[in-house]
């Protein structure tokens, strides 16, 4: 078995009396899409934050590329190649779509402290950004102010910014949310290819997408992983059906 790119080991985190993560362990292997599902408030986003660095676990460790990154900041983890999208879009609304994408490229190049050369004239950066926009289908909108995008278009841009980082692993918090049926379908196809560039930890409530994409699924309930397995395993897992899927699956 190959070494996991990312692994979460016995992570716990409380908010007051609420246990948001309870001894969670999971990993992400090269080339896979590992879906993380679970009821609302189960602690998925909280776990993502602990992986990405916005929140420290009370106990447990996070390893990335073979290194213990638990004590590292978001910035340091991002520089190691952890690409993240947000559940609620975090974009520079006053800037153009292209500028948002270039920002990601800039971070990847790690050279924001240049004061003189106009950034838009930087061919390399621009190419990275435009490629990413093209891949999510936003290249036509490159010159538009981000605040003028519809909700769904912003979700696409979220993904594009993460792409420009050329990350070693993706962590995506509900990328499908807000995408229409066609958008979801398109993104599903896209993620399916993307997994070959870097594995994806995917939090998603869109079961069509999850079942179509996931190599493995972990189910988080009340901060605890109650099951990990293939699509089939999870679909037929009685407890998962009761706590999460309902009659749908």
């Amino acid at each position: 078995m190959t070494e996991p790119v990312l692994s979460v080991r016995n992570v716990s985190r409380k908010f007051g009396a609420l246990i948001a993560s309870n001894n969670v362990s999971l990993d992400l292997r090269p080339g896979e899409i590992h879906a993380l599902i679970g009821p609302n408030g189960a602690g998925k986003s909280t776990l993502i934050k602990q992986i990405a660095g916005g929140l420290r676990p009370d106990s447990g460790e996070v390893h990335f590329l073979g290194r213990d990154v638990t004590a590292l900041s978001t910035v340091q983890r991002a520089r190691m190649g952890l690409g993240r999208t947000f559940q609620i879009s975090a974009l520079a609304m006053e800037d153009t779509v292209l500028q948002n994408a270039m920002l990601g490229a800039l971070g990847a190049g790690r050279r924001p402290y240049r004061f003189f050369r106009p950034v838009l004239k930087d061919r390399d950066l621009r190419e990275v950004a435009e490629t990413a926009l093209d891949r999510v289908g936003l290249l036509d909108h490159a010159a538009i102010r981000t605040s003028d995008l519809s909700h769904g278009q912003r979700r696409q841009l979220e993904v594009a910014v993460a792409l420009t980082l050329k990350p070693r692993a993706f962590i995506m918090d509900e990328p499908m949310a807000g995408l229409g049926a066609s958008g979801s379908k398109r993104l599903t196809g896209f993620l399916d290819e993307l997994r070959h560039e870097a594995p994806i930890l995917l939090v998603e409530h869109d079961m069509d997408a999850v079942f179509a994409l996931a190599d493995r699924i972990s189910v988080l309930v009340y901060g605890e992983v109650i099951a990990t397995g293939t699509v089939e395993d999870i679909r037929n897992h009685a407890e998962v059906r009761r706590a999460y899927l309902g009659e749908d699956a």
Binding site: V75, Q76, G83, R84, P112, R117, P118, D122, L125
Partner: protein, 327 residues
């Protein structure tokens, strides 16, 4: 060329031609007035880097303005009285040379901005406004009660400092010095806004979380911007002191911070020429209205109100319209 660019060019040219006209028409005071506009605009250009680009609403930029002013005041005072500034551990003499004074003003205010910024940037939003105000006030009270350099009375430098090859006492020559520095600062600010740094800083203002997840530390971006901003405002302080041949703690007062900020808002926040337009309008109003009535502040207030209510985005915002920043 966009409307804003045209407007900026007109403004830049106007600020140059007006004093030249005054020179020909032998109206030396008009030159002084234009010099004042240029210098205060320079202070605004400094603040605008923090405020417009970085979203760092500092109500403490008077601190840097004052430090620049006192850098000039103290150096010139010692040069004038032939007393060394410092004897141990090594001898430092005062000076009356502008370039030296400018360097000292830049360095001193940058250093102050580094310290104040490092502490203040732990906070954000309105808290940031208030903590910068607090630092400004500390320096204000310190300057008032520090007897060595005149306390509240300030320091008078009877003769303007010198610049190699120029007669700084000639209003038009001093104006040109200020104008060239302002132009340089504007060019720098324009470049900064378009640079990778500007892009990142501007994004950090809008969504700091995102900037972190792409591997850039917002705190460091902001601190850098704050230091650059403070240094430019400090340089303006040194020039302002030289214009008046006088420094006093009022340069440190929160009203000074407020005034610099008002120039920016009036002209247009985050607009390259915002501070220039704002300072020019404000000083012109002050000059014209001041003669009208004892209660001219009322007219000034009404005019400012009209600008806020009907000229969205300041003067430049109104004339140039909404455009995507730094394209």
């Amino acid at each position: 060329m966009s409307r804003e660019t045209i407007f900026n060019a007109v403004l830049a040219l106007g600020l140059l031609l007006f004093p030249l006209w005054a020179y020909v028409a032998d109206e030396p005071f008009m030159i002084t007035l234009a010099t004042r506009v240029a210098i205060l605009a320079l202070a605004g250009v400094g603040l605008n880097i923090a405020l417009g680009l970085g979203g760092l609403v500092s109500l403490g930029h008077a601190a840097f303005f004052g430090i620049g002013g006192y850098a000039m005041g103290i150096l010139a005072h010692h040069a004038q009285s032939y007393t060394p500034l410092m004897e141990v551990p090594f001898l430092i003499e005062g000076t009356k040379s502008m370039p030296v004074i400018w360097l000292v003003a830049l360095a001193a205010s940058a250093l102050a901005a580094l310290v104040i910024g490092a502490l203040s940037l732990r906070t954000s939003g309105v808290y940031f406004i208030m903590i910068t105000l607090a630092f400004g006030q500390m320096l204000f009270y310190f300057a008032i009660s520090w007897p060595a350099y005149g306390g509240e009375d300030g320091l008078s430098i009877y003769v303007r400092n010198s610049f190699p090859g120029l007669n700084t006492l000639d209003p038009i020559q001093f104006f040109l010095i200020a104008y060239v520095i302002l132009a340089a600062a504007l060019m720098f600010a324009a470049m900064l806004a378009k640079s990778p740094f500007g892009l990142a800083l501007n994004a950090a203002r809008q969504t700091a979380e995102r900037v972190e997840t792409i591997g850039i530390t917002p705190y460091r971006l902001r601190l850098t911007a704050f230091v650059i901003s403070g240094a430019i405002t400090g340089l303006a302080g040194a020039l302002f002191a030289d214009l008046n041949r006088f420094v006093s703690p009022s340069m440190f007062s929160w009203q000074t911070s407020g005034e610099i900020m008002i120039f920016i808002i009036l002209g247009g926040v985050a607009r390259l020429f915002g501070p220039v337009a704002g300072a020019a309008l404000f000083i012109a109003l002050e000059h014209v209205l001041g003669g009208l009535s004892e209660f001219w502040h009322i007219y000034l207030g009404l005019l400012l109100l009209a600008v806020v209510l009907y000229a969205r985005g300041g003067i430049i915002g109104t004339l140039a319209g909404r455009e995507v920043a730094h394209d």
